[in-house]
Symmetry: C2
């Protein structure tokens, strides 16, 4: 569901540039080409970023571009990566991402999972030696056009503490399921397993606001309402926030993601997952290779005729959508609905890029000798 | 992780009978036989209940026995059910549970998933036309001895509202993953997708205590601290509790479980899932058959050599276990650890059965003409 679930208009500043999605896509493609990606990889990586911006997940779109560039400059991302399958059964595989962009690695792994599912009913690919893969939903949603359910997971830089711990041992480790429907839009569940993602802290900090109790603990493990607490050595809390409210469940989910993405693939896990920011050093004695992802696809008609499934999915959606709301709320939201709405708006009206990101893009363009006319 | 995560000694009363697990198993087997189950089904169903009692998940063990009996008497559970596979690919299948006990249906489906995984790397079985399947962990953990990761999901009687809704549209819909390790114990994540399970409300009610904010809303959708609020027409809240804290994520997870178990299998879903209690009527116009489950198994060596995985899993566990705790906490818990400890204690010391349940068992025995000497 992502950030847009809470912020249907997630622009965080009134100083922004409204940029056509296709213009933005062309620009990011040019940047990736300048980094040395192949034409097809540059387009694919741009597809992933563009999808985030269109869906309103501003933290995972073009705002990250300069971060990828810095990681490439720090030689932590390889532009001409050649991902390969290093282990395989009919329905499982492990990909070595060759230090490439997670954006492209995960998308390619998903194609393999889909092909395995086409032949055998389901397909699952773990990816090691990769990097930040963008929004989870892009990869999982690739399954939809094949009438399959898609799944995508990734581990991430450690910022989150398990219940009772004050150490950062987990990433925001998202879980995504994309489920097709009949006449209705697909149900797309895309969620960090922390109570709140880092991006929300940044929004609060920029606005000078406090954050709600239950998002963050300080470096002593005490709850803090100061969004700068994370920079001060604190850690994000898992979904559930406190033991009493079920934070051990969020921890369990995050552990599941870390184990599938890190341990099963041969990537790093826990506190050893490489940081996204290039200025932070890598952890010593890393047990695996890079960041890990896990993607999968499963045929709907592996279980029942597609038409029957579609009919029931439409009924599921209609029943939840028409559910009686609590006071003050206009509608019950179907997972994926806010992003779908946002995409319709932004395809038409363009993508709002805040000044800070806009300036960042101009700097990247200048640095890499890419034309900038956004 | 279940209830025992919070209540390491989950006995809710100081009036109880300490009963040897094998004695309890023999008794439940006799009851299931008296209902007309085959010898092997009666033993298997007892295995599932016994596993819950041993692991400290008191709400899902022998305490439920009379509930199953009542459902059988109400002709909602068939004792001589003959579950069959009605749809299949190499790695997927749908089972019609023939109105049998979920306890046995899910366990049998898991065997099929494991066999598919043995041949093709992974196996997934959706089950329709079933009933309450006991603790999720029993089914998922069957994969462990095969060096596979196991997964089990079930939908359940609607008691939970989606974010912004005041209607009961979801069950506590648990998610379970069982992941093997090397020298260490397996990691077993077994969690309801609601903030708290119904059992915790019952404990609070019995003690005359208030429940924490964030567990329950009344029939107007306002938070209530009265554990009797559920009986008064209220509904449990999803993991995350409030929108600000991420209840839409708990809703998303619960929706995923409901769709996999209900829509994919051809069982009922949402508000149409049959109630566990026999005195509540079935919903009109049910779109599917019975309750649904979803189980799966995936070979660890479908991704990397087992020894490498085991070594890294042990390191994962050791690192999390040795994590620095927040003040007032002695240790960071590995998912599944409390249940494992509880099992070691209870195998030796017996299972504490509270008076209310003990009396219930005696009534069941009398009713069915089963010997009662617990």
């Amino acid at each position: 569901m992502g950030i847009s679930y809470l912020y249907l208009h997630p622009v965080m500043s009134n100083k922004y540039h409204q940029i056509d999605a296709r213009e933005l896509h062309k620009f990011t493609t040019d940047v990736f080409l300048a980094m040395g990606l192949s034409q097809s990889d540059a387009v694919l990586a741009s597809d992933v970023l563009n999808s985030a911006d269109l869906r309103g997940i501003d933290s995972h779109g073009v705002a990250r571009l300069s971060g990828y560039v810095r990681l490439w400059k720090a030689k932590r991302i390889k532009a001409d990566a050649n991902p390969t399958i290093i282990h395989e059964t009919h329905t499982t595989a492990t990909m070595d991402g060759d230090e490439g962009l997670g954006l492209t690695n995960a998308a390619k792994a998903m194609d393999i999972a889909i092909e395995k599912a086409r032949v055998h009913g389901s397909g699952w690919v773990a990816i090691q030696n990769s990097n930040h893969f963008g929004i989870a939903a892009f990869h999982a949603m690739k399954a939809l056009e094949h009438n399959m359910i898609g799944m995508s997971l990734t581990n991430a830089s450690p910022l989150v503490s398990p219940t009772f711990s004050k150490e950062r041992l987990l990433g925001t480790n998202p879980i995504c399921y994309a489920i097709p429907a009949g006449e209705r839009d697909p149900v797309v569940i895309d969620m960090a397993t922390s109570a709140a993602a880092n991006g929300k802290l940044q929004i609060a900090e920029r606005k000078g606001e406090e954050i709600p109790t239950g998002w963050l603990q300080d470096n002593e493990g005490k709850n803090t309402n100061d969004p700068k607490g994370l920079k001060g050595g604190g850690s994000l809390l898992t979904l559930g926030s406190t033991k009493e409210m079920g934070s051990h469940k969020g921890y369990g989910l995050s552990a599941f993601v870390d184990i599938f993405c890190g341990v099963l693939s041969g990537a790093n896990y826990g506190p050893w997952v490489p940081p996204f920011v290039s200025f932070l050093p890598l952890a010593p004695d890393m047990p695996g290779k890079g960041i890990g992802h896990f993607v999968g696809a499963i045929r709907v008609d592996g279980f029942r005729p597609l038409e029957e499934f579609n009919k029931n999915m439409d009924q599921w959606i209609d029943r939840f959508k028409s559910s009686e709301t609590i006071e003050g709320q206009e509608e019950v939201i179907i997972p994926g609905e806010p992003e779908k709405r946002q995409e319709a708006i932004r395809r038409k009206e363009g993508i709002p890029v805040i000044d800070k990101v806009y300036d960042d893009l101009r700097d990247v363009a200048k640095d890499l000798g890419v034309e900038f006319n956004l």
